[in-house]
């Protein structure tokens, strides 16, 4: 697979090839060459199957890391392609013309992270969060617990506690926070 890494590096500036398993590798690309690289992988290298696409909020670095997982059934190999985009200006090229189901993933990323994919069908429509008015909920700076406490009233008689904390207090009282 190193030949593929060399070709991707020469054509698209790909870097950081890492073999996670014999049948799975990861690689990093620049976001502005992402769509071309994915099209090349699909058409020229046999990675024709898009398993899924998602994002990770790397808030410490101020970026969203996009995750595209492709599979070549002929080679029996999967490739995870990463690309960082600026958290303040999260816009990236749409790949809905490459794979016919990709727009659903992009619609999800728009709703969950606020990442925009201009031109992607129905990208601004609500996906799973109907009537949601809060910030994109998968961002790391969205605290779901604080949101719930602020939004919903306490129900009397329903005390809750974090089981992990409870077990630590029970088993290791000296070490519990």
């Amino acid at each position: 697979m190193n030949e593929l890494a060399t070709r991707l590096a020469a054509r698209y500036g790909a870097r950081g090839w890492h073999d996670q398993r014999a049948d799975l590798a990861t690689i990093v690309l620049d976001a502005d060459r992402l769509r071309d690289a994915l099209a090349y992988l699909r058409d020229q290298e046999g990675y024709r199957h898009l398993s899924f696409a998602t994002a990770i909020d790397n808030i410490e670095r101020g970026v969203f890391t996009l995750v595209y997982t492709l599979r070549s059934h002929d080679k029996g190999h999967s490739l995870i392609v990463h690309a960082d985009i600026d958290r303040q200006k999260p816009v990236v090229d749409s790949i809905h013309l490459l794979w016919a189901q990709a727009w659903t993933y992009q619609r999800e990323m728009k709703e969950w992270y606020g990442i925009d994919f201009p031109g992607s069908p129905r990208v601004d429509e609500e996906f799973v969060l109907e009537g949601w008015e809060g910030p994109p909920m998968m961002r790391r700076d969205f605290d779901s617990l604080a949101y719930s406490d602020a939004t919903y009233a306490e129900r009397p008689g329903r005390a809750t506690s974090d089981p992990a904390r409870h077990m630590k207090e029970q088993l290791y009282p000296e070490a519990a926070e």
């Binding site: 997982t69 059934h73 995870i80 794979w99 189901q101 993933y105 909920m137 992990a164």
Partner: protein, 387 residues
């Protein structure tokens, strides 16, 4: 001749009907509707009794699993992951457990490999049994579901005996499986498999030779082979189109390389072919379960010792672990930043593709009475779309 005429490919472009013209009717099928799979809905625009446009609406079952997982310890996520695909929770358990083991560098004992394979094949059979009842019911065939759900209950009895749980088992955990097989369990498995097989023979006779089922299912929801890569179609929906892809063979995980089975493929992926292929896969399941019972080590450890789960930190890294579930490629992408909680867990469920992009296209031009049958023939579970 007639079949060829029926096997139409729906247009790629969406229609743009003028709802004010009085020619069309907008109607919702779901979320509370017997002709829908789970908690989702279809927004249909119909002209006469033909569907002109279809939109899938999800979100009725969104529980924020992926967000919740980022707040919980690695081990605390187990009661969450199994709820992502309710009728077959074991694939979630396996993918999540295997991803953690890979990142943490844990090898599981051979007996656990076999017991995991057994658990996955048993839940595959149970899920298919539920599906075939739904498929028959969608075409007005109420008897089959009474038989098949009874058979599914027998398989759930086995899970209760094995794990204590009928629906959610949490049997597959990192390091292996939660417990050894109880005394006499394998004997019960073989007895139940004999019962289920006899019932499948009856189902085959009553359902697949029934003229109503044949007439309505043949040609319905035809998926050409070239859609498979374009739409990311996997599992029986792809195999019925003649694309021989089965991750059990292709990835060779767990004990599958040591089992004797062939990938079953069809020729034309319409509702009838998909149903027939799934029936054959149910027989294959029974055969695999018998092989597993025969070859599974009778003693030896079933679980590797794990670190203290309250203080378990997994080294930084990422992986994607996939398995072949009843509907196709089921996968977990897990990223760790070296802490005691996941950085990101993303679930890849086959319904994500089949119930949205594929369903919306296949519904165009379908008779409204066949929408339910088409939907079930794609075998979709909404929870894995919404997570």
């Amino acid at each position: 001749m007639k079949k060829e005429k029926l096997r139409v490919i729906p247009p790629a472009e969406r229609a743009n009907p003028d709802l004010e013209s009085g020619k069309y009717l907008l109607m919702w099928q779901g979320p509370q509707h017997p002709g829908i799979t789970g908690n989702m809905s279809l927004k249909l625009i119909v002209e006469g009794d033909s569907v002109v446009d279809c939109e899938t609406h999800v979100g009725y079952l969104h529980r924020g699993f992926e967000k919740l997982m980022e707040r919980r310890l690695w081990m605390q996520n187990f009661p969450l992951v199994c709820r992502i695909a309710v009728p077959e929770p074991d694939f979630n358990e396996y993918c999540y457990a295997a991803a953690l083991e890979e990142l943490a560098g844990i090898q599981i004992p051979d007996k656990a490999v076999w017991l995991r394979t057994l658990s996955l094949e048993m839940i595959r059979l149970a899920s298919f049994l539920m599906w075939i009842g739904g498929q028959a019911g969608a075409f007005g065939h109420g008897t089959i579901i009474q038989w098949s759900v009874t058979m599914r209950d027998y398989v759930l009895d086995l899970f209760e005996e094995l794990s204590g749980g009928r629906i959610y088992h949490m049997y597959i955990i990192p390091g292996g499986v939660r417990g050894d097989v109880p005394a006499g369990f394998f004997k019960h498995v073989l007895e139940i498999m004999d019962t289920v097989q006899k019932n499948l023979d009856d189902i085959e006779l009553v359902m697949f030779h029934n003229v109503v089922f044949k007439m309505r299912a043949e040609g319905l929801g035809y998926i050409p082979a070239d859609w498979v890569d374009h739409y990311g179609i996997t599992g029986p929906n792809a195999r019925a189109a003649g694309v021989a892809r089965d991750l059990r063979k292709d990835l060779g995980y767990l004990a599958y390389p040591r089992l004797d089975f062939k990938t079953i493929v069809g020729q034309k992926s319409d509702a009838y072919e998909r149903a027939r292929l799934r029936l054959l896969e149910m027989y294959q399941c029974i055969d695999l379960i018998r092989q597993i019972v025969d070859q599974c080590p009778k003693d030896g450890p079933f679980r590797e010792k794990l670190p203290n789960p309250l203080y378990w930190k997994i080294p930084a890294g990422e992986t994607y672990v996939a398995a072949e579930c009843t509907r196709g490629e089921y996968g977990f992408y897990v990223a760790s930043d070296g802490s005691d909680k996941p950085r990101r867990v993303a679930v890849r469920g086959p319904s994500y593709t089949h119930a949205v992009a594929v369903m919306e296209r296949l519904a165009r031009g379908v008779n409204i009475a066949d929408v339910a049958g088409l939907m079930v023939s794609l075998h979709t579970y909404p929870p894995e779309i919404e997570r």
